[in-house]
Structures are given as C-alpha cells and as structure tokens.
C-alpha cells in the first residue's frame, strides 16, 4: 500500500514536473513517455530516477495503467516505451501494424512468485494443482496436502496488484481466487501475516523472501534465481518493454541503462524481481 502510494505520488510528481518543465526551463530536454504494466512500474521508477540524474538532457514521464493500456498507447503513438508483464497479443500486433507501428520486445527482468508458509508448517512441496485448489477454496485443510489437521488460512493480494495478476495467470487460471482469502496490500504485509500465523499460506515476490517465513517447493522444484531464470520454476514470467522499432537514440540509451548489470539490473533486484543474468 505504502509502496503503491509512493509510486503513484512519484508518478504525479514526474508528470507535474514534466508538464511544467517547458515553461520554466527552456532546456531542450528530450522527453520519453513510458506507460503500461504496474508490475514493471517500480523497476522503471527506480531505474528512471538514476537514469535522469545521469542523463539530464533526457526526461522520463512514467505512469502505470496496465500492460494492455501500455501497448495500446504505443500503437497509438501516445508513448515511446510500453511496459508489459506479458507478451504482445497477435491482435495487438496487427492493430499496431495498421498504424505503422512495429512493436519490438525487450526483456528487462524476471518476476518470480514464491508460495510461503509459517516456518513451523511441515509441508515442503505443493503441486500447481494443489495451490490452485487451495486458493480456489476447494482444499481447506492442511492435512489434505500432507500437513497438520488445521484449517488453511490463505493470504492473497488485493485484486488490482500486479502480483495478484501474475498469480491469477500462472496458477489460478481458469479458476478465480476465492473471496474467503484474506487480502493484504503489499508483499511486506503478506510476509508479516504469514510469519504470524501457523496456518497461513501466502505468495510473494522472490525478492521478499526472508527467514521469518518458509518457501514452498512447487512441483518438486525449489525456488532459486537459477530455476527462475532457466524457466524451470513454474511461477515465473519475463517482464518486457516494447518500443516502436528497435530502440534508438534516447530510448536506446534507456534500454542499455536498464540492461546494465551495474545499473538497471541492480534496480531490478532492489525492487524484488530477478535480474537477467549477464546482459
């Protein structure tokens, strides 16, 4: 909650700064409008600040609105960079082609979610089907999945967060998360709720793992940066930016910055995602 609020506020500040910039300073700063997925947004915010400090001649206008809206904006020429937590759809590609826009995909990070339980919980492994059953409300007792005879308390994220969407797509589809799930407003709040409840199960971004909670293996695979990058981990997806044609000029500078292991990829790790290995 606090984080999203912060992001929105920063987005507002950026927008305000950019709208007022032409009048105040006549500096010919090149503006790059970036919009799209709220999952990618925190990476862009974090890397963007440092990028603008390093390149005062380029200003970024960053806002969220969802992957679909981002790609739509790119197709309509309303932004130069679209952030997306999924690949472009065939229909969207066609729409762009009609307007002369050729969307080019660049992966910038890997988002991996990890199911977590209280350290006292004996359960080590759950299959994707079991996780889906738990969150759809069909499995309600831990002993149905090899644990104690206790109710399962499922902790989810509020339904508009990017984490919830990823979970929905990679685990839940075509089911929906049962309304009886407790919802927490941030990764940190989920960690706290799970750490304080022996019957709880939750899911968090990879970067939020710590010793107060226990990660669960899924389909027998352990969640590590390697298994996520090699795509063995079943709850991982790549996060992308889309540009019209191959990145060039200022946009190329931004892309290079994002992919630099010492710069953009550091922001990726700090935001709780997994940096791409090497370049």
């Amino acid at each position: 909650m606090k984080r999203t609020l912060f992001i929105t506020l920063t987005a507002f500040c950026f927008a305000a700064a950019i709208f007022s910039a032409p009048a105040a300073a006549a500096a010919p700063a090149e503006e790059i409008i970036i919009t799209g997925s709220t999952t990618v947004l925190p990476v862009m915010q974090k890397a963007g600040e440092a990028f603008m400090a390093a390149n005062p001649d380029i200003s970024l206008s960053i806002s969220g609105g969802g992957s679909g809206n981002g790609i739509k904006a790119l197709n309509e020429g309303l932004c130069r960079v679209a952030m997306s937590s999924r690949d472009i759809k065939e229909s969207e590609r066609k729409e762009g082609a009609d307007k002369g826009v050729k969307a080019v995909r660049t992966a910038v990070a890997v988002d991996a979610l990890v199911p977590v339980v209280h350290p006292d919980n004996p359960v080590q492994n759950l299959s994707v089907e079991q996780l889906r059953g738990i969150y759809a409300g069909r499995i309600t007792k831990w002993n149905e999945v090899g644990g104690k005879d206790e109710n399962i308390v499922m902790i989810s994220r509020d339904s508009s967060s990017g984490t919830f969407e990823t979970w929905q797509e990679l685990i839940m589809a075509p089911d929906k998360t049962a309304p009886s799930a407790l919802s927490q407003a941030s990764n940190g709040a989920v960690v706290q709720a799970v750490a304080g409840n022996r019957r709880a199960v939750g899911y968090i971004g990879f970067g939020y793992l710590n010793s107060s909670i226990k990660k669960i293996n899924v389909n027998g695979i352990e969640a590590t940066a390697e298994s996520a990058l090699s795509r063995k981990w079943p709850i991982a997806r790549e996060l992308y930016i889309f540009t019209d044609g191959a990145p060039a000029g200022a946009v190329k500078k931004l892309t290079d910055y994002l992919l630099d292991p010492q710069k953009g990829q550091k922001a990726v790790a700090e935001t709780g995602y997994i940096p791409l290995s090497g370049k």
Partner: protein, 294 residues
C-alpha cells in the same frame, strides 16, 4: 457617520458570506465530482447487481462489481464496535459528571480527549501487531485479522468521541434539576438514571451517532486489521472487507477513468450516503429533544 459604519458593517458581512459560500462551494464540488466520476458505472452495471452482487473481481475478464459482502461487513463492524463503544463511552461520561470528584474529572477529561487525537494508523498498527496475534493465540483462531479485532480497535477509537460529547451534554444539565430531584427524596442513583440521563438524552444520542459515523468511515484501522476477505461473515471471528478498505487498497492501481475507477467512486457514493444518513440521524435526535443537554 452612521452611514459609514453601516457600510463597513455590510462590507464585513458580505466578506464573511463569501468566505462561508466558498467552503460550501468546495464541499459541493467535491460531492459533485464524486457523483460525476461514480455514476457512469451504472450505464454498464445495474444498481441491483452492484449493491446485491456477491463477488468483487474488478480486474477479471469480464469484471464483476458486487459490493454486498462489503456492505454487510461495514455494517457488522460498525454495529459490533458500537456494542463495545457506546456503553463504555456513555458510562464513562456518567461517571465523570455524576460520580467522580471535580479534581478527578478535570484530570480525566483532557486525557480522554487526547486519546481521541491518536492517529488511526497507530491504532491500526497496534491492532495488527499486538492485538491480532494475541487474540489469535488466546482464542485459537484461524487468523487474528478479523471482524472482532477490527471492531475492538474501532471501539477504541470512538470511545473518546462518544465519551467527550456525552459528557458535555450531561454537564450541561442544569444543577437545579439535580437539586430538585434530590430535594424530592430521590437517591443519587435515582437522580442520575431517571433525571440527569433522560435530560441529556439528545446529547447522548448525538454522541452515539457521531461515534458510529466515525466507525463506518474509518479506513486505516479496518484496512490493517479486518483481514480483507470479501465474504459474508458467519461468525464474529471471520475476516471481512469493509467498504473504506476497498477504496484505500485499490485506488492507486485502478486505471484513470476505467471501469474499476468508476466502481471505486460508486463505492465512495455508497459510503457517503451511509455517513450522511448517520449525520442526519444525529441532527434529528438533537433537534427532537432539544429540551435538555445540547
């Protein structure tokens, strides 16, 4: 001369009217904005589906906007909180005016009013970190974040409001009434129960209504302690999701002027109507029995 001072008088009056008008205008515009942003939702979602729908999946395809579980949750939390807060608040007020010695009263009143100034996020944090784990272990609950914990924290928040307003009302009961009652041979207890409290009834009613409207509109406490499950509560210890917490949790992520955004504003309209009803009720009570108290 008199003409000049009269002119000055009119000028001052006009300036004050303009200032008062401004604040009314701003409030009116906020209300107008709320309705302009929220009402378009009902071109795609029917009012009955919205108010009586059981599931809230604002970002699914197709989205569902049913707020019935949240309405029930808000009412349940408010009623439970009032069940704790009203007796506690009113009794404390009675004790302060009728029983406690003036010195004690002078010390206690500011203390109680100070707790009214506690930021709600502090109370919410306390509920989340201290009260919820305690209740969870003590009562062996599935989760300490539930209707009961949230109500307890809300009660904690509204007791000072209720107590302070009710105390003012009781204190305003003329001493002559008490004296008359005692002179007729009534005991202190009879005087308090049969004379002073009825005389201050309207003020006490207003206090209760104000306390309840504070509970129903409170956001941070329920966001942090109610658990946030969009279900109809079957027991006091089920997690619930009251209306304000939905708005707080989702507004930052809803795309501007999208359907989800409209839905959140429509939820805001419902909340506004709720608190408006409470305030009208409070006013009604205080006007109806404007004999005693305030």
């Amino acid at each position: 001369m008199p003409a000049a001072s009269l002119r000055r008088e009119t000028a001052v009056r006009r300036i004050l009217a303009v200032i008062a008008g401004c604040s009314l205008l701003f409030l009116g515009m906020i209300m107008l904005f709320l309705f302009i942003e929220g009402l378009p939702l009902f071109s795609t979602v029917s009012v009955s589906d919205f108010l009586l729908g059981m599931s809230w999946y604002p970002t699914a395809e197709p989205p569902e906007f049913g707020i019935f579980p949240m309405l029930v949750a808000s009412c349940a939390v408010t009623v439970t909180a009032s069940a704790f807060a009203i007796p506690l608040g009113v009794m404390t007020a009675v004790w302060l005016t009728e029983v406690a010695r003036p010195g004690v009263r002078r010390m206690c009143k500011p203390l109680i009013e100070m707790t009214a100034a506690l930021p709600s996020v502090v109370i919410g944090f306390f509920g989340m970190v201290v009260a919820a784990p305690l209740l969870q272990d003590l009562l062996d609950l599935d989760s300490g974040l539930n209707l009961f914990t949230a109500s307890l924290m809300l009660a904690f928040m509204s007791v000072p409001t209720i107590c302070s307003v009710a105390e003012d009302a009781l204190f305003a009961v003329p001493a002559s009434l008490r004296a008359a009652s005692l002179a007729l041979g009534a005991t202190r207890r009879e005087t308090t129960v049969r004379v002073v409290v009825p005389a201050a009834f309207s003020g006490i009613g207003t206090a209760c209504m104000l306390g309840m409207s504070r509970s129903i509109g409170e956001t941070m406490v329920v966001l942090m302690t109610a658990g946030g499950a969009g279900i109809l509560p079957r027991s006091l210890f089920d997690p619930v999701r009251p209306i304000p917490s939905v708005i707080a949790a989702e507004t930052a992520e809803a795309s501007f002027r999208g359907e989800h955004y409209r839905a959140l504003f429509a939820v805001g309209i419902v909340l506004f109507l709720f608190t408006l009803a409470f305030n009208i009720a409070a006013r009604h009570i205080s006007e109806k029995n404007s004999g005693g108290g305030r």
